[in-house]
Amino acid sequence: MAWCTPTCSASRTGSPLTRWRCWCSSASWAALARSSTSWSGGGSTGCCCHCCRLKLIAEGELKDMEQFFDDLSDSFSGTEPEVHKTSVIGLFLRHMILAYNKLSFSQVYKLYTALQQYFLNDEKKCGIDENDMELTNTEELDGKMEKEELDVPLREEEISCSGPLSQKQAEYFLSQQASLLKNDETKALSPVSLQKELNNLLKFNPDFAEAHYLSYLNSLRVHDVFSSTHSLLHYFDRLILTGAESKSNGDEGYGRSLRYAALNLAALHCRFGHYQQAELALQEAIRIAQESNDHVCLQHCLSWLHISEQKIFDSCVLLEHSVNKSLHFGLPYLASLGIQSLVQQRAFAGKAANKLMDALKDSDLLHWKHSLSELIDISIAQKTAIWRLYGRSTMALQQAQTLLSMNSLEAVNVGVQQNNTEAFAVVLCHLAELHAEQGYFAAASEILKHLKERFPPNSQHAQLWMLFDQKIQFERAMNDGRYHIADSLVAGITALNSIEGMYRKAIVLKAQNQMLEAHKLLQKLLIHCQEIKNTEIVISVLLSVAELYWRSSCHTIALPVLLQALAFSREYSLQYLASETVLNLAFSQLILGVPEQVLNILHMAIEPGLAHGAVLDKGCAMFLVAKCQVASTASYSQQKKAEALESAILNLNEAKTYLAKVDCKEQLRDVLYFQARLFHTLGKTQERNKCAMLFRQLHQELPAHGVPLINAFK
C-alpha cells in the first residue's frame, strides 16, 4: 500500500519550519485527508489527490464530509477489504471513525468549519507567502482585515495569539527549539520571540509543562535568574502532577521528579555562579536520591557537586569517584564528561602529558562506541587546549583543524548540525590566536569575523571570542608600541577575565616604564594566582617580574626569580613558557658576562622555540643569539671574529624577517642598529649605510623611551 509520507505533503513548501508546520497540521486535522490518499493508489500522485479530496470537502458542503466518513467505514468491509482492521492504518481509521461518531451535532459542524479554515489557510499560505515563518495563523485573515479596518494599531500580542497549536505541533516546536538552543543558538528564535511563542502556547494549554522548561532554558540565555527559577519550579510542579498519576512514590513516580527538581535547581544555581546555594540544593537532591536508592540520580548529583566545589577548592577525589561509579552504572556520557574534566584539572596540576592523552584516547574510544558526537567534539577541543598549554602550537593547530574538518562529516552522517557548540568556539578561538602569533593577522581577523557571525554577541559562548579578540588586539598594540590603545583594551579584558586583565595591565605599566606600579601589581597577582594555583599565569608573572629587575639592571636578583619560573614550567611541562624563561635567563647571563655559557643554554631553548614559538619570540631569540655570538668574539682571533660576526649578521637577518612579520618596530630598530654596528666593524660601508638609513627612518617614527638600546632583550 502506498503510504503518503509526511514530506510528500510538504514538498511544495520551502523552509524547514513551514514544511514541519504543514506536516504537523496534516497530522492532526487533515489526518483524514492523508488516509484518503492511502488507498487512492499512486505514491507520488498521493499528494495531489490528498489536496483534491480536501478541496472537495472544504469547498463543498457539509454532506461531502459526512459522505467521506460514510465511505471510510465501507473500506473495511467487502471480500477484499482495502484496509485491514488490525493494521496500523486500520486501527487509526477506526479510531477516527469512532471519534467522529461520538461527536454531537454542533461538534460535527465545528469540525467542518475548522477543516475549512485549515484548508483555506494552507492554500493562502502556499499561494501568497512561501516563506511565512509564522507558526499559526488560523485567524490571520481576520486579523489582517481588522487591522485595515481599524485605525488603532492592534497590539502585537493580540495578533500573535492567533490560535493554539496541536499537541504534536507544540511538542515538535519545543523539541526543535530546545535542540537548536543546545546546538546552534543562532538558528533558534530570538529570546524575546521564543518567549512570546511560549506564552502563547501556555495561554492555550496551561498544562503543557514542557513549555515551562523551555522557558527556563530561554531565560538562562538572557541570564535572567528570577524568571528562570520561576519557570523551572513551575515546570517541576507540573511534572510532579503527571508523574503522580503513574506511580505514587516509586522509581518512575513523582519521587523521581522531586529528586530531579532539586538537582535541576542546583544546576541552575551553578550556572549563575551561586555555588553556596547550589550546594544546598544538591544536598537536598542527594538526600532524597539516597533515600530512594537512585544511583543514577546520585551520579548526576556527584558530577554537579564536583562542579560547584571546584570553584571553592579543587579536588580530584570527588571526580574520580564519580567517573568510577558512572562507569559502573553504565552512564557513559557522565563518565566521559568526568574524565574530560579530570584531564583538564590534571593538566593544570602538571600531571604527565602522556597519561592525560592516554585517558583522553580511552574516553574517545568510549565516545565512538556510543557515538556521542558532542563529546568527541569536546575531546578534540580539549586536546587543542592542552597542546596549547604545553606550547606545542603545531599539534594544537592540527587538532583544531581536525575538529573543523570533521564537522562536515558529522553533518552528513547524522543530519544534526552541531556546529555552534562551545567546542567549536574554543577551537576557533585558539586557531585565531595561533594565526595571530604567527603574524597572520588578516587570517586571524577573518576567523574572528567568522566567530562573530556564528556566535552573535549575546549568545552563550560569545564571551570566549570577545576575550580572544581583545587579547589579539592587545598584543598587536603592544608590538606596535601603541600603549595607550593597549591600555584601553585592558578594561575590556578585565571584564571578561579579571586575572588576565590584571596581568595585561601590569604589562602595559611595565612598557610605559612605570616600574613601581607594575611591580606592585605583579606581586599582588602573583600571590593571588599562587593561591588559586593558576601556574600558567604564575610563571608569566614571574617572567615579568624578572624583566622588571633586569630593566632596572638588577640581573643578579632576576636570576633566582627566573630559575623559579624555569622550575615551575619544567614541572608543569609548559614548554613554551620554559623556553621563554631560558631566553630570559640567557639574556641575564649575557649581561653578567658569560656569553659562552649563554650559547650553551640557548642551544637548548632555541629549537623548541623555533619550532613552536610565536614569531615575535623567534625574532627575539635570534637577536639574542646574534648578541651572544658577538659577545663571545672578544677573545677570538681576527679571522674567526669576522666569521662569527658574519654569522651573527645572518642571524640578525632572520630575526629581522621574523620581527617584520609581526610589525614589531621597536625591536626591529634595535636589530638594525646592531646590524649597522656589525657592518661597520666589518667595514662594509654600503650595507652599514643601508641599515643606518632604515634605523633612522624607524627612529624618527618611534621616539625612544630612554630605554638603552642594547640592554633590552625584548
Binding site: L111, E158, P164, A244, L268, A281, E284
Partner: protein, 560 residues
C-alpha cells in the same frame, strides 16, 4: 444615588450595590426625590423597541434583544444593543466550553463577538459618541481581550463621565495591581471615589488605609450599609484580627440574615477559631438559602474540614470550582485539604491552579512551600516561602517558616534574621522568639538567648491569655541556668521556683534551688544588693533589649 437607572438595571450586581447603599440612608421625602431624567426625542422614538428588547434581555434572549434594537439611535438603546451582543457572545462561549472537540481546544473557546464589538466601539469612542455606559462596555471588551492598559484608560474615562456607576469602578479595581498604579490614575472627585479607594486598599492589602476610609464613610452616614460592614469584616480578617472580624460578621448576619456573600470569609474565621457549632449552624443555614452558591460550598467544605472529613471537604471545594472555576479561595482550600490527606501531588496541583488564577495569592505560595517542606525539601521550598513573604512582608508566619527552613539548611545567620524580623513585625504564633532563643542557645550566645527568653516571657505574660504554653517552662529553665551561671542567685532562684510550677521542669527546678541555696550559704555576703524579680520588667527590660538588633531582613544575597 437614584441616578443609577437604566444601565444598572441591565447589570444586576451594580444595581444591587447601589440599592443597598440607598437603603442604608435615611429615606427621602417625596418632595426631595429628584425628578426622573427627562426623555429626549430619540428616547421617545426608541421607547417601544427598547421596552421590547429589555424584556427579551431580561429573559436572557440576547440575540433577539439585539435584533430588535439594531436601528435605534438613542444612547440607552445603543448600550442595550451592544451589551446584549456582548452577553450573547459570553453565553455562547460558556455553552461552547462544554461542547468542545477535545482537550486540544481547551482555552481556545472565546467570545467571538469581542473583536467586532471592539471595532465598533473604538470607532464610536474616537468620535466621542459613547456615554458612560458605552465607555464601561468598551472597557469590559478591552479587558476581555487582555488589553489591560487600554482598558484602564477607558474605565477611568467612564468614571469621569458617569461617576455614579459602580460597575466601572469595580472593573478598575480588578485591573490595578499595585499602589504605584493607583497613584497615577486621575479619578473624578466624588463620594464614589472614597468607596473605590476603600475597596482597592482592601484588595491591595493596605488594610489600615482601607479601614480609615470605611470609618469615614460610616461617619458620613452609611452606618447601616451592609456592604461597608462586610468590607470592614473582610479587612479585619485580612489583618488576622479574628475577634473583631467575628463580631462584625455576627452583627452583619443579624442585619442581613439571608446574605450569602462574604460568608466564606466568615466560615474561614470560624474555622480558625475551631468554632464547630457556629460553623455547623452557618453551613446548614446557607445550605437552606441556596445550595448552589460558591460561598455555600466553601462554607460546607470548611465545615467538613473542621470535622476532619477531608475527602468530603475536597469534594465540596471541587463543587465550588465547578460553579466558578475562577473562584480563587477554593483552589487554595482544596490544596489544604489534599495536604491533610497527605496527597502532596494533588495539593501541589491545586495550589498551582490557585496561583495561575491569581499570582498574588500568598496562601497558595505558602501552601506550596509547606508541601515541599513536608517532602523534606527545605531548600526547594525557600523559593515559595520567599514569594509568599514578598506578597505579605509583614506576616510573621512566612518569616517563621523561612526561618525554619534556613535552620534546617544550617544557615543560622539567615534564620536568626528571619526570626527576629518575625518578632519585629508582630508575631502571631509567638514562636519566633523561642526559636530565636534556641538558635542563640545553639550558637552558645547565652546572653542573647537569655534576652530572647526574657522577652518571650514578658510577651506571654503581658498577653495574659495563654496558660499552657509549652515553651514557657523551657524558657524559665534556661533562664534559671543562665542566671545560675552568672551567679545572680536571686534571679536564678526566682526562675527555678517558676520552673517548679511546670510538670516537665519541676525536678530540675528543685535541684537547682537546692544548689543555689548551698552556694548562697557559702558566699552569703556577695549577693544581697540585687533584688529584682527579673521577668516582671522595668529594671531589667530597660537594659535587656536584645543588643543585636538584626535590622531589616536582608535575604537579597541569597534570593535569586
Amino acid at each position: 444615588m437614584q441616578g443609577n437607572s437604566v444601565g444598572d438595571s441591565c447589570q444586576p450586581e451594580a444595581f444591587c450595590w447601589a440599592s443597598e447603599l440607598a437603603f442604608a440612608l435615611e429615606p427621602l421625602l417625596l418632595s426631595e426625590l429628584p425628578p426622573p431624567p427627562a426623555l429626549t426625542e430619540e428616547d421617545a422614538r426608541d421607547l417601544d423597541a427598547y421596552t421590547l428588547a429589555k424584556s427579551y434581555f431580561d429573559l436572557k434572549e440576547y440575540d433577539r434583544a439585539a435584533y430588535f434594537l439594531r436601528g435605534c439611535k438613542s444612547q440607552k438603546a445603543y448600550f442595550l444593543y451592544m451589551y446584549s451582543r456582548y452577553l450573547s457572545g459570553e453565553k455562547k462561549k460558556d455553552d461552547e466550553t462544554v461542547d468542545s472537540l477535545g482537550p486540544l481546544e481547551k482555552g481556545q473557546v472565546k467570545n467571538e463577538a469581542l473583536r467586532e464589538l471592539r471595532v465598533e466601539l473604538s470607532k464610536k469612542h474616537k468620535a466621542q459618541e459613547l456615554d458612560g455606559f458605552g465607555l464601561y462596555l468598551y472597557g469590559v471588551v478591552l479587558r476581555k481581550l487582555d488589553l489591560a492598559k487600554e482598558a484602564i484608560d477607558v474605565f477611568v474615562e467612564a468614571t469621569h463621565v458617569l461617576p455614579l456607576h459602580w460597575g466601572a469602578w469595580l472593573e478598575l479595581c480588578n485591573l490595578i495591581t499595585d499602589k504605584e498604579m493607583l497613584k497615577f490614575l486621575s479619578l473624578p472627585d466624588t463620594w464614589m471615589k472614597e468607596f473605590f479607594l476603600a475597596h482597592i486598599y482592601t484588595e491591595l492589602q493596605l488594610i489600615e488605609e482601607a479601614l480609615q476610609k470605611y470609618q469615614s464613610l460610616i461617619d458620613a452616614g452609611f452606618s447601616k450599609s451592609t456592604y461597608i460592614i462586610s468590607q470592614i469584616a473582610v479587612a479585619y480578617h485580612n489583618i488576622r484580627d479574628i475577634d473583631k472580624a467575628l463580631s462584625i460578621f455576627n452583627e452583619l448576619r443579624k442585619q442581613d440574615p439571608y446574605r450569602i456573600e462574604n460568608m466564606d470569609t466568615f466560615s474561614n474565621l470560624l474555622y480558625v477559631r475551631s468554632m464547630k457549632p457556629e460553623l455547623s449552624y452557618l453551613a446548614h443555614n446557607l445550605c437552606e438559602i441556596d445550595k448552589y452558591r460558591v460561598e455555600t460550598c466553601c462554607v460546607i467544605g470548611n465545615y467538613y474540614s473542621l470535622r476532619s472529613q477531608h475527602e468530603k471537604a475536597a469534594l465540596y471545594f471541587q463543587r465550588a470550582l465547578k460553579l466558578n472555576p475562577r473562584y480563587l479561595g477554593a483552589w487554595t482550600l482544596m490544596g489544604h485539604e489534599y495536604m491533610e490527606m497527605k496527597n502532596t501531588s494533588a495539593a501541589i496541583q491545586a495550589y498551582r491552579h490557585a496561583i495561575e488564577v491569581n499570582k498574588r495569592d500568598y496562601r497558595a505560595w505558602y501552601g506550596l512551600g509547606q508541601t515541599y517542606e513536608i517532602l523534606k525539601m527545605p531548600f526547594y521550598c525557600l523559593y515559595y516561602y520567599r514569594r509568599a513573604h514578598q506578597l505579605r512582608p509583614n506576616d510573621s508566619r512566612m518569616l517563621v517558616a523561612l526561618g525554619e527552613c534556613y535552620e534546617k539548611l544550617n544557615q543560622l545567620v539567615e534564620a536568626k534574621k528571619c526570626y527576629w524580623r518575625a518578632y519585629a513585625v508582630g508575631d502571631v504564633e509567638k514562636m519566633a522568639l523561642v526559636k530565636l532563643a534556641k538558635l542563640h542557645e545553639q550558637l552558645n550566645e547565652s546572653e542573647q538567648a537569655a534576652q530572647c527568653y526574657i522577652k518571650y516571657i514578658q510577651d506571654i505574660y503581658s498577653c495574659g491569655e495563654i496558660v499552657e504554653h509549652l515553651e514557657v517552662s523551657t524558657a524559665f529553665r534556661y533562664l534559671a541556668q543562665y542566671y545560675f551561671k552568672c551567679k545572680l542567685w536571686d534571679e536564678a532562684s526566682a526562675c527555678a521556683q517558676k520552673c517548679c510550677s511546670f510538670n516537665d521542669t519541676r525536678e530540675e527546678g528543685k535541684a537547682l534551688l537546692r544548689q543555689i541555696l548551698q552556694l548562697r550559704n557559702q558566699g552569703e555576703t556577695s549577693s544581697t544588693e540585687i533584688a529584682t524579680p527579673f521577668f516582671l520588667p522595668a529594671s531589667l527590660s530597660a537594659n535587656s533589649t536584645p543588643t543585636r538588633r538584626v535590622s531589616p531582613l536582608n535575604l537579597s544575597s541569597v534570593t535569586p
